[in-house]
Symmetry: C2
Subunit: 321 residues, 2 copies
């Protein structure tokens, strides 16, 4: 059993990581987007990291997978009484990690150390690794100017048309040693890009200086999973953003975003008709059920992807012989 | 109807202030101890201010008067899961004010402004005024050295014998303009020192540079209410501290702490036998029921104290004629 690296964010990425964790345990490293991190009330919120932690610890809500099960809003009701901001609504359970993170960052600890400590405390087998320890912020370019993704989501309700993205700080950020080590593992089976918004969830990870080169130079196949099924995003605004950026909202367009980076693309059964077109982009295609409703779905998708990556490795080895 | 200034802290001080607020409304200013303030998880906790706010807003717990009614510990349970500190246990409702306070302080606002804004938001008629805007910390001197009151209370459980107190920062702190204005009011009827620990609740207020002079120079009588009844503190560790400091744990000893500052002392009915001894310290004595179980008790005690102060003023005026 080799090791696996997943690049992930959002609920879909977390669900797939949870399936992979069941298959690979501590041999799974998950590199998580921090471009959507934000400060609120002086606290350091890392929504993608926390969603990943809750999901891998088995604490995530069934219905609202980005937060812990049974979330409540008692602190928020007091904030409101005292004249605090209404949005974003802070869940009580969701406040724990930002409180401890803010304190630890203030004491000079790296985000990576802090996140790994949370993993240990929560009994998470996999290693959850922030994409970098430096501050990177994804900005959404709109007709009225650039806003952070956090503001685009929370203040603007994702309404203004998207004209582009900027990843402020990405070129000055370093790939953390823990991520380099995971990608250099001799037994690395695959790098899996989870089903998540290609623009503000996955792309920031790829924009960290040297990340694309590092992924390409490693021998293991890089495989991406579609976040778009039948022209729609399961959650979030990926399809809307694609339309506004002048792309067709389709799995094929997502595959195109990862061209020259990935070896294989995982397409949902519903989109089987797109397989040929995606192969013509120069990548292998796996058609599989990608909607993860149950824990079994997550494991089944993980197994299918790992098998797909194994076949790519074998084909590559055969070609060399 | 004139104006009243109360110096107060802790639950007893807050209860009396609430009674005075019912009698004087916006003409009441409460100067609150901040010497027991502390930082935890990077947040600025002001326990005496927040107890006062909850009490004056009618939100305080009946049984645990220092916190809001119906307090819960959901954030704390998540902090524990993530490896955060067990103590002090942070209530969910009690987190709102520290979160907003920390943010506002970070933006450069004064503690006084922040506290007055909380008063407005909570519909509090009285003006709650921190004793100063600078950082003052009461330290308890023990045989093992000096510790902050917060650590003495939370980490040491108030166990080590008390050898003395220090009020770090008090000599460099300024009396805020809002407190000066309240004490300079032409219609000032009385300054009332609430029933609270004389060493770490009231004394820090008196240690602010110029505070004693300001209190003495104003024409209004200064009246203190005993926190000790029958040799015991209703709550807290005042009696224990008095014994360790070599004083008898009694209302008389409390009156002695305020000698040369106060014109009158309010003694509980149970301690009527101490009245003569306290008069011999050079102050008037009022014997009254000082235990505030109900809202009516608070108002009745407030009325009795205001009447007592009025008689002191009249006697003084008669003496001048």
């Amino acid at each position: 059993m080799g090791s696996v690296v997943a690049l992930a964010a959002q609920v879909g990425g977390a669900k797939l990581a949870e399936g992979l964790q069941r298959l690979r345990g501590k041999n799974l490293s998950v590199v998580v987007n921090t471009g959507d991190d934000f400060e609120h009330l002086g606290l350091a919120f890392s929504p993608d990291i926390d969603t990943m932690l809750y999901t891998l610890a088995g604490m995530a809500s069934q219905k609202a997978g980005w937060q812990p099960e049974g979330e409540s809003y008692i602190v928020q009701s007091m904030l409101r009484k005292l004249g605090g901001p209404d949005r974003p609504a802070l869940g009580d359970r969701s406040l724990g990690a930002p409180l401890l993170r803010t304190e630890a960052l203030g004491e000079g600890h790296r985000l990576t150390e802090i996140t790994l400590d949370f993993c240990r405390r929560l009994g998470i087998a996999a290693r959850v690794l922030p994409m970098c320890d430096e501050r990177v912020r994804t900005h959404v370019l709109t007709d009225e100017g650039a806003v952070t993704f956090h503001d685009y989501f929370n203040q603007l309700g994702c309404e203004p048309p998207v004209r582009g993205f900027q990843y402020a700080g990405a070129d000055a950020a370093r790939i953390p040693d823990e991520v380099i080590d995971a990608l250099h593992a001799r037994d690395l089976e695959a790098v899996i890009i989870g089903p998540a918004n290609p623009y503000h969830a996955i792309r920031p990870i790829l924009e960290i200086d040297g990340m694309r080169d590092l992924l390409r130079k490693r021998g293991a196949p890089v495989v991406a999973v579609t976040p778009i099924i039948g022209g729609k995003a399961l959650m979030g605004s990926a399809a809307k953003m694609m339309r506004e950026l002048g792309r067709e909202p389709s799995a094929r367009a997502v595959a195109g975003e990862y061209r020259r980076l990935i070896d294989g693309f995982v397409l949902d059964r519903e989109d089987v008709g797109l397989a040929e077109g995606i192969r013509s982009l120069g990548m292998q295609v796996l058609v599989a059920p990608t909607i993860m409703r149950s824990s079994e779905d997550r494991v089944a998708l993980g197994e299918a992807i790992l098998g797909f990556a194994a076949r790519i490795r074998e084909a590559r080895a055969a070609a060399v012989e």
